[in-house]
Amino acid sequence: MNILIELLKYLSGPVAIIITILILLIKYPEKVEKWISILLRFFHIITRKGGRAFTAFDIQGRINEFSKFLKNELPSFNQIGIRVHWITEKETPSEFISKNRLVIRMREHPNQNKNFVNASMIFISKALLTKVKKYLSKSQKESIDLFIAKKLFDKEKPAVKDQFFDDYFSIKALSSDRIMQLIEKYNIIDKVGLFYPVLIQELNFLGEKIFYKQKSFSIVEDVKAFINFLVNYANRDVGEEKIPKNFEGVFCRCGIVIIARSSKVAVGDTKPFIHYIKKLLEHKLENIYLIGSAYKINKDFIDQISLEVQKDLNLSKYFSKIYNAQIKIHGVRIETKSYLVLLRSSEALRYYDKEYQKQFIKPIE
């Protein structure tokens, strides 16, 4: 990048501008779409022309940028963008019927917030995180869509947020206790920074699996237990020992290991953790999340455990990240940095046959 900046200094004005635009287009296409939409907006206000282009670029820019944000939060996310396609009057009724596709109505400029909210909700419901929602109950699916939409609109200006809350959030959330309770749970999990990297990540892995015999009810119950476990974790006070610190899912096939015992960290004693992870793997758990403070000594200790289990236990590092978390200390939430490493077993399966399912996919005593 520095070389390019140096090179641009020696180029003439127009060439430098063209090259800069090309670089931006390649590196930040979503931002370019947003800038174009701002220019088109002014053009539309002055000339009353270009309404379609403004509407399309505005929606695409904002949603595609959010999709990029999701990719950063969730490495396994199969990034997908949106492209607004205007249908024309040339389509005959039979062509339209054979295409079998939904057509969204887009209002003229003063109603652009409504357009954006409608398009976003349809995109989130239909195209976003489809694997994540594969095995979930209706309320689990709806609540995840609403919570993700809320996070998208939280980044927007107040008028857009109001539109979303008036048209969707308050109506849907208030219409169902279940949805409201789930949203509240996601909110708590999100406070400690685990909504995307653990909950959504694990649901994504779950959605990739094919079971010989799919017991939807059991999977839904398993997800429910996993959500409750994460809520308990998120609500725990630092140092609180009574709350379970590890989750051994039936279908989720994951284990969470909290690494925060200062006595073990101080002496660098990795053995108890390695031994515990080994035990989890014997139960055919496939994903091990190591979670702890991002404070240097603790982070180094987590990395050390990660390296040792990769070497000895046939696990590979899927991703690691430092993230913001609001942990509880004496009942008060404190903003801090946490560290997470996801280790994935090389034996992780996509298809679970009858024998395997009988032997391993059952509650672990």
Binding site: L25, I26, P29, G51, R52, T55, A56, N64, S67, N78, Q79, I80, G81, I82, R83, V84, H85, W86, I87, T88, E89, K90, E91, T92, P93, F96, I97, S98, K99, N100, R101, L102, V103, I104, R105, M106, R107, E108, N118, A119, M121, I122, F123, S125, K126, A127, K133, K138, K141, E142, D145, D167, Y168, I171, K172, S175
Partner: protein, 83 residues
């Protein structure tokens, strides 16, 4: 440039709505208030149109009432309607 797939979302701009409905042979029905919402059966107008889609050889319209939109999302999630 984009390094991921993009989901196309078919859309109709307000200014084009009459032409599109005319092309589909539905403009007269729309103007005379004969098009109804698939879910609540309310009359579809420019004030309340949310979306439309083909189903069983016919074109169905959805109004922007929250319950109707909720039903639409359900059909989308269950893959009964495509984008």
């Amino acid at each position: 440039m984009y390094r991921y797939n993009k989901q196309e979302v078919d859309s109709v701009y307000d200014k084009d709505l009459e032409k599109i409905l005319d092309g589909l042979g539905l403009l007269n029905k729309f103007k005379s208030g004969k098009l109804k919402c698939k879910f609540c059966h309310d009359t579809i107008s420019l004030n309340n149109l949310h979306s439309f889609f083909p189903e069983a050889g016919k074109i169905r319209f959805i109004c922007d009432k929250s319950n109707c939109v909720k039903e639409l999302y359900y059909l989308l999630r269950e893959n009964k309607i495509s984008l």
